[in-house]
Symmetry: D2
Subunit: 446 residues, 4 copies
């Protein structure tokens, strides 16, 4: 009764299309067969055995539900799977099946196999996000909008810069993930290839190569640094996706309306309110990412595992690891759609720049007045003028001029009204925005 309906829509859609548990059984089988092949190539088992195993088992239909049930007695999926595989083999091959392996070798390696295409897809989605973001950055390198700090209007920026920050977050996470290697697991009962001497390491290395996995220094049954590195890199990307979704949901608020999620048939409709278009993709990203953080918390609390094999710590990793990755893939599917189809309302951005009557320009104004008044009086005047503009609903430049005249009649003429107008024009106060976009693109494409 885990209600799948409540979580599968948040997850990787291609992965969900595939048959579920069958994939894991296939991955375990792939590990066992590659193990036999490696052992055959090293002369450990008779020539031809591995091929005959593959022939016997590749078309064998494993009873997935029996394996699932078997976990409850054995404690992990490999135990019932290995039994079922052995039974399905011709008698003379059984002794070469699962040879020198322990169940954790099979489960860990199978998980790594399962995750390999998922990580490739993450990289692919992140590539699309990057491309889409660069497009937005180029298109909006000069689109002025208000920057907001502590969710209050602060000073002007460009929309291009905002997108640059999203893109940098994703790309840092992508590079972190890309540096990770998913290692094979093979150590036997207590991690030292009992009964196989130095050949154990050869088998481990060969198995890695055959499966396309990385070669670890040693078996890592209770050295879970690779899992920690993977889970925390996934979590970092969750943070990047969540940042995008958070910004979109804030900017898409009815009163702001600066961006909108791409329209789509039925997308974001309300069950009761016809006028509403909910930022559903942002909600799904944020929901998925919060859960990824929970999965990461399980894994970081389970990194230390006792002696040669965990007692619950390892078991606790499985679902958080797989679901964490699938939830991230789901979140990135949504993020890709968002970035590729984001509706940008530059008119609303302009409108919101004017909401304070121009008072967001108080800082440049204060800076402009400082040579005349000193920093404190300049700051005070700029602030008081902002307050007056807000109360009187008049343009900031006008309030400023009036207040300047009242308080500092001696400066009459020293500062021209068009100078004040310029000082209060957001489009003239964008700092390094344009250079930042260029620098970010260079780095993203580097």
């Amino acid at each position: 009764m885990p209600v799948d309906m409540l979580q599968t829509p948040f997850m990787s859609q291609p992965a969900l299309m595939a048959s579920r548990d069958e994939d894991f059984v296939k991955a375990m089988l792939a590990v066992e067969l590659a193990l036999a092949e490696t052992q055959e190539s090293l002369g450990i088992i008779p020539s031809g055995s591995a091929g005959r195993m593959r022939a016997a088992l590749e078309s064998h239909v494993f009873d997935v539900s029996a394996i699932t049930t078997g976990i409850a007695t054995g404690g992990n999926a490999a135990i019932p799977f290995v039994k079922a595989g052995r039974v399905a083999l011709p008698n003379d091959l059984r002794r070469y099946w699962h040879l020198g392996a322990t169940s954790q070798d099979i489960v860990d390696s199978a998980l790594m196999l399962l995750l390999t295409p998922r990580l490739a897809r993450l990289d692919d989605l992140l590539g699309r996000c990057r491309t889409a973001a660069i497009g937005l950055m180029e298109d909006h390198a000069e689109t002025v909008m208000v920057g907001r700090t502590l969710m209050q209007q602060a000073l002007p920026i460009t929309f291009g810069v905002k997108v640059a920050h999203w893109a940098l977050g994703f790309e840092q996470g992508r590079r972190r993930l890309a540096e990770l290697a998913l290692p094979v697991q093979f150590g036997g009962a207590v991690g030292v290839h009992s009964g196989w001497g130095e050949q154990g390491l050869e088998v481990m290395d060969g198995l890695a190569e055959r499966l396309g996995l990385a070669v670890p220094v040693l078996p890592w049954h209770t050295d879970r640094q690779p899992i920690h590195a993977l889970a925390s890199a996934v979590d970092a990307l969750a943070g990047a996706a969540e940042k995008l979704a958070l910004d979109v949901s804030l900017l898409t608020q009815t009163e702001l309306g600066e961006v909108a999620e791409p329209a789509g048939e039925g997308m974001g409709e309300s069950s009761s309110m016809p006028h509403k278009r909910n930022p559903v993709r942002s909600a799904m990203i944020r929901g998925a990412c919060r859960r990824i953080h929970g999965h990461a918390a399980v894994i970081i609390n389970a990194t230390a595992q006792p002696l040669e094999r965990g007692l619950g710590e390892w078991h606790a990793e499985w679902t958080p690891l797989v679901d964490g990755v699938l939830l991230l893939e789901g979140a990135l599917e949504q993020a890709t759609v968002l970035l590729e189809g984001l509706e940008v309302n530059s008119e609303a951005m302009r409108r919101n720049l004017a909401v304070t009557g121009g008072a967001i320009m108080a800082e440049p104004v204060a800076r402009r007045l400082t040579p005349h008044l000193g920093p404190d009086a300049a700051k005070a005047l700029a602030a008081d003028a902002a307050e007056r503009a807000r109360q009187a609903s008049c343009p900031y430049a006008q309030a400023l001029e009036a207040l300047l005249g009242e308080r500092h009649p001696e400066l009459a003429g020293a500062i021209a009204r068009d100078e004040l107008d310029a000082a209060t024009d957001p489009a003239l106060y964008l700092g390094s925005s344009k250079a930042q976009v260029a620098r970010a693109i260079a780095w993203l494409e580097g």
Copy 2:
């Protein structure tokens, strides 16, 4: 591709027997039909409508997979479900369907319905744990074993007292859970029963009664205290189960062997080592409970939800809430088996009491010597004798007598050897163990 096989064995088994998503659809339907009945009883919709709705929909086969897919556009399960239900109704009834409700009303209430029998089962399992624990406490009220602090042998206790602590943990959690009421959700689009005036509250109260749920003060769309209380009570019980499993896995270590998990066909066997019996139930409890903590972390980080409806926070709650409960039920199934069938090896307990040559009795000895030597010298003598006994592998009483003679010849005869023997007998140094067991039983049965 969420690999169910990796997690379902850890979860409530009866719940898993049931069809999965179908149950949630049924629960949503139950909420909608009860809503119509409540509205009919209040004269809001025509007499007979609710009955006709029930007739039309109770046998209707909802397309679960379409609903699952629909979540991705609507953002929650109620949106596609409500559409599908409306289409399945005769035309004249459609206007009375989902009347005054919002999708969160349906999803939250359905979740509460779904959890109601699970909480009942938790209570039932906890009752069985309590009964089994009381049995163990009575049987072992005088079974002496060593108490261990910081995992070092310290002083004697009884096994009965140890079980009492397990039982108190479970019972505190059970009472905490039993005090919770699962509330109905009904507030309409923005939680104020838009369009229904004060009658909205009447509908909410009536709906609660009809569904057997608790009446909240107000709708709680973004007041998630009830969810926090539920998730943290579930987590507290996870802590209690984990404590049992932690103690069992420590006491069942090969070198200690004081308890063993109940034997069972194939239970705990290793895929490679025939002699091993792994404490698989403890591993499954510990694995499940670690994940429950992760689920709790998601929920406590999502308690604060914005304005009138969450944007990802609510979505993040669903699976952690349901899976948290199912994982706890699974853990308690295992705990029940453990407590009902635990193998207690009182001989090993006696053997381990002797492991230090009696040095665990240094504290009572020091206490016995204090009137003669003062606390500091007494403590030092007791400690040094313990060290000597350990190095010489001789009984503690003997090392003590010798050292006493060396250092304090003036006390010769003041302390008889049989006094020292008595001071070093663990069974005479059990403190309030027996009274504690009696007190705990009285409270557990209270």
Copy 3:
């Protein structure tokens, strides 16, 4: 080098005024002296001993820094404290000092003593929040504003109802906290009052009474349910405070401006932008509450402690428990100020209701049209009119009338323009808002 400056401003201010570590030493001393008094009253130690101990130690100046250093060798604060206390006693009293106690007895009980006044203050602050909230609810029972779901404008509510939700969150948390009893800890080395027989329980009960703490069923050295209950209740209140701060920070956004944090000298000013008033109190609440969730995570992951005493799990609890409470107190100090002085801008609320040209009223309009057009056509018409109003910047009622005429000329006259006007007036569409406020007040005061 823990940078206190970065965290103390977020914490309970009265608690911070007090001397820090000194308070903990005082609390440990209070426990030891009450223990001696209890033992004296039970005839365990000679009459007069406890009084002489108090006389000797109450004015003794403990070397706090030596105790701090001593933790690193003993592993907890009681070990060096007990040593220091013993040395400061007359020789004949030393044997009665710390009698039958273990260091965890002292540390746990001292922590409970330390937290007792803090919990009282939390209750006091929550009482002030409740009073202030009720005032706001009464004042604004009819203040119309827009309800927002998924941060999009949805339908009208009142500000009174919004405050009611804040108040219910706080009050549920307050009641949860108020039901908790902080228990004394007293069990001796392995929790069974070694060497004291049944009298151990009498001492425990008497000590609890003397210290004003609750009597536990048994010592709870590794039964951490009381700590879990306390930490999760604290965390629930953090969620309630965070919800208030989240709503305030959203409503106070420049473009919304519906509420403002109370003004205060220098409060919320920016180091660079004179016009800005940052919602600093909300930021401090949200910062503190996020950290409380982290502290709660530590505690829920440490609930299961091994055998008779933890090995790191207990040690991990100390700071998260104390800092969690102090951070909550700090957050509630800010929440109290917010609620007592919140600036409510009902004019801005009215202005924002009009932002969509009235389209937030599409749902009541659809409902009004349903008898004429059926639900689907009614919903479509209401939605299309909303879109037209938004594009043409005309009032929603006007767009509606036009579209109705175009699509359904047969209804001409069936629905009067003033009916449409009424259907689009937010103040006439507040549902049970007023009744909800009354119901909430009754419950809050109940």
Copy 4:
């Protein structure tokens, strides 16, 4: 009243020796002065200004407590610090103070400065751990002990291999940390160097160089990937330290006694039990690391920060970041002592290998019998013999020979008793242990 005594002993000791808040003030000052110097070198402020600032402020005594108090109104430490600094400057320099900076620039950069020497010390401690571990690996490359999976005796390994796993955990974490660059923060009010054009980026780059910090692509006010990477690398090392402490606390259990923490004056003594030596260093490591996980949870949940500046998310990072690093440093101080002085009891290791009567060798025996009996019968015989040996307390080889004779008389003579003896000798069944140690050392030194 945050009780420092309860947490400072767990933290970096050299860092604690330093004055606390003063260091942070110094770091903020260093950032401001380097900013002025950079600006002077770019011709932004008059030649000589920066030097005069330094002269005026380096000896100025900042009122730390006023700054601490000021955080509560401004929301961060830079606001009151900047004010205090400005006041302390000659009038004509004030306009060049904090020029173009925002408070987050100062706080973030100061935090990075503060952490730089700490990370260097972490690296240093990890170097010492590596050296000590390599020593242990070399010394114990052939020290046979039992490997334990799910905390049950499984098969032989060497102590050298166990240490190799600890060392690999630390070294993976060390390399992860070493790859991180702590970036300068400099973006001005909204991150785009408002008012400074492209020169803003030049100032940022120059400031980084002057402070010895890394150059970020762009300011990272709400792109918290660098903080996530740092916090999760710290957490990974916590996992490695915790693994060491977990293993040590398990192996040091009274019944196992295979290792002991280094003895030390008063180290690990109990307040009540003279015979006990508590594994206090392990407890402190485990306590610290659990808290690090809590700090990491705060940071990973705060990675997504809204728009141009966080509203509580940023504030929540400060203490978890600093304390996380200090706690790790404390844990590594303990780990270094543990690894440099660990007492290894190889005799106890040998003794424990014999605890099961040799039954841990059932797997090699089964493997030896397989060619004669097939895998299933061989496994069954080996397991049944283990059970018989356990029950009869006879050597495993003897039980095996007897059972073999009973069940398979046809094999009489096929397997010699000395073959069985050899098959049951742990020292002959160490797999790749020795090769693993060599491989690990090569990688560690690589």
